[in-house]
Amino acid sequence: MRSPLSAPIARDAAIALIIVAVLLAMPLVAPKGLVFVVGTLALHIVFGLSWNLMFGQTGLVSFGHASFFAIGGYFYALVARSFPDLHPLLGFAGAGAFGVALAVVIGLIALRRSLGVYFAILTLALSQIVYLFLSSFTPLGREDGFTGIRRPVLDMGLFQVDLAKGDNYYLFIILFSTLLCAIIWWVRHSQTGRALRAIQQDPERAAFLGINVAGNRLLAFAIASGVTAVAGALYGPWLQLLTPDVAHWTLSARPILYSLLGGVSSFWGPVAGAAGFAILEYGTRTLHGFSEIIIGSILLAVVLLFPGGILGGLESLRRRHATPASAAKETRR
């Protein structure tokens, strides 16, 4: 018999399978513009999920998450240009490793002294430094951006896949993003994830169970940053261009919006939030100015009416109709 404490792997795998199947079938039915939006959305889902690993799971508020997305992207672009013969998978992995290394260095300094709003503002300041650096550093293209990032040929030993052809890169992004999301899911539901959740709830209490609070916070920060750096690396060839805007603080606000919009306490919250945001953006893309007004108003309405996010709102609606006993069970994840 499965314990109520076990991870809901069957349910989540089923949901994931359906979503991935639909996304993989997209190019068959959807126009090119929409396929592009969905590919970007997949990367933004990774972006949102990794941020929420820090916030919803561990209790760390980062305002500078976009800088890791940008760093991963520029790192891959630079490596791919400098070493054209390097296997692209090594390039993507390298971007992740670079993101992790940078996060460890920053985390060792920043997490030691400051938490809460200070950590948020500190990450904001650091991301501004990254943004200014990318905007002014000539080898990275300054304001014009890093141009001509190619979609590579994937040499898998037995066969080769040219990601530049047809929808190949789109399919590659969907599959790779799924892998990254699975990593986040696994961390979240592992023993480490449970320790992180304890830290989010009450760090001092967790320490008195022998949990290394600082070490686990650093771990969450490093994993989230590394995963996001890989998503950023995948984004460069998708757009074939990177501008400093990917490091701008308004992009750092995105994973926060996704998570709070969808609900921070469930794994699927940021997924729902990112999808909802993408739909809004796609639906209003032709309305100059009014697009921001509509998106902003809907965000405001969600915050004021459903402070638990979309999924939290649905949950409480469902609970209102459920019996108290089954409601108690539903609250467990």
Partner: protein, 294 residues
């Protein structure tokens, strides 16, 4: 001497007062309502656009007096918007988690950006400096634009005024007591909700008037909202979570360091502001003026 000391010092002070004027309203609202208002930049921008429209309407009138009057009108318009925002958004936000109030003010920022695009379009605009302030003063070899001197004077005067109001008037004492313990203030008969309305309107008025005053310094575009916000957050937090004196000192410290830093490393303008901000947060996480509210 002039090139390496006085000139960067002067430029740093000028930037500091620009940041300070931008930040006063933000500090006031954060200090009392504990709402970190992302949309502050948006309302600053609306103030600047309103002033721009009036200048165009009256046919490019550029006397100093008209410029001050126009800025005040911009402040009043934005203050009235603040009245609406407080009723519709800030008041319900008192009940939700801090993280959600942050997302709400960000949503509001998006709305202001959209509104500016819808009303004024996306093209760039600029306004001439009033005639009297268009010149420059030379002190020895030090070149000082009159407009910069004027902004420094306005910044220092605003600080002195706010400090005087806070320390020596009943309104100021009320502000401090509500900031430190709204529940107790309510017990003692203060109408706290109405006081919050007053603070929000005042904060927005300050955003609007700053938008008008700093108009000649800016190129108007819908991106204006997000350019100052992060620097303002820096001054606010480094200063010590919402007190006017801390914000004033932090703005000066960060901007002057940045100004000297750009001498050493001119490739990345603005870099040293954030380096100083990072260092300040790490070395003094409690802020320059710790513990004090307003």
């Amino acid at each position: 001497m002039v090139d390496y000391v006085l000139s960067p010092l002067f430029n740093g002070l000028f930037m500091a007062m620009v940041v300070f004027l931008f930040t006063t309203g933000l500090t006031l609202i954060f200090g009392i309502l504990r709402v970190l208002n992302f949309a502050h930049g948006g309302f600053f921008m609306i103030g600047a656009y309103v002033a721009f429209s009036i200048v165009r309407l009256v046919g490019g009138e550029t006397s100093v007096l008209a410029y001050l009057a126009i800025s005040t009108v911009a402040g009043i318009v934005v203050g009235l918007l603040g009245l609406v925002v407080e009723r519709v958004i800030f008041r319900p936000l008192q009940k939700v988690d801090e993280a959600y109030s942050l997302i709400a003010t960000y949503a509001l920022l998006l709305i202001t950006e959209g509104a500016v695009k819808a009303v004024w379009g996306v093209s760039f605009h600029s306004v001439a400096t009033p005639d009297l302030l268009g010149g420059a003063v030379f002190a020895g070899d030090l070149f000082m634009p009159t407009y910069a001197i004027f902004i420094i004077a306005i910044g220092v005067a605003s600080y002195a005024l706010l400090e005087w109001v806070l320390q020596h008037t009943d309104t100021g004492k009320l502000m401090k007591s509500v900031a430190s313990d709204p529940w107790m203030a309510g017990m003692l008969g203060v109408n706290v909700p109405r006081f919050y309305t007053f603070i929000v309107v005042l904060g927005f008025f300050l955003a609007g008037i700053a938008g008008g005053l700093l108009l000649p310094n800016q190129t108007l575009s819908p991106n204006l909202a997000s350019t100052f916000v992060i620097q303002a957050f820096g001054a606010l937090i480094v200063g010590g979570m919402g007190n006017i004196r801390g914000t004033f000192l932090a703005a000066i410290m960060l901007c002057v360091i940045d100004s000297f830093g750009s001498l050493l490393f001119s490739e990345v303008p603005g870099l040293f502001f954030y380096i100083a901000m990072t260092a300040a947060l790490l070395l003094r996480p409690q802020g320059l003026i710790a513990g004090a509210r307003l």
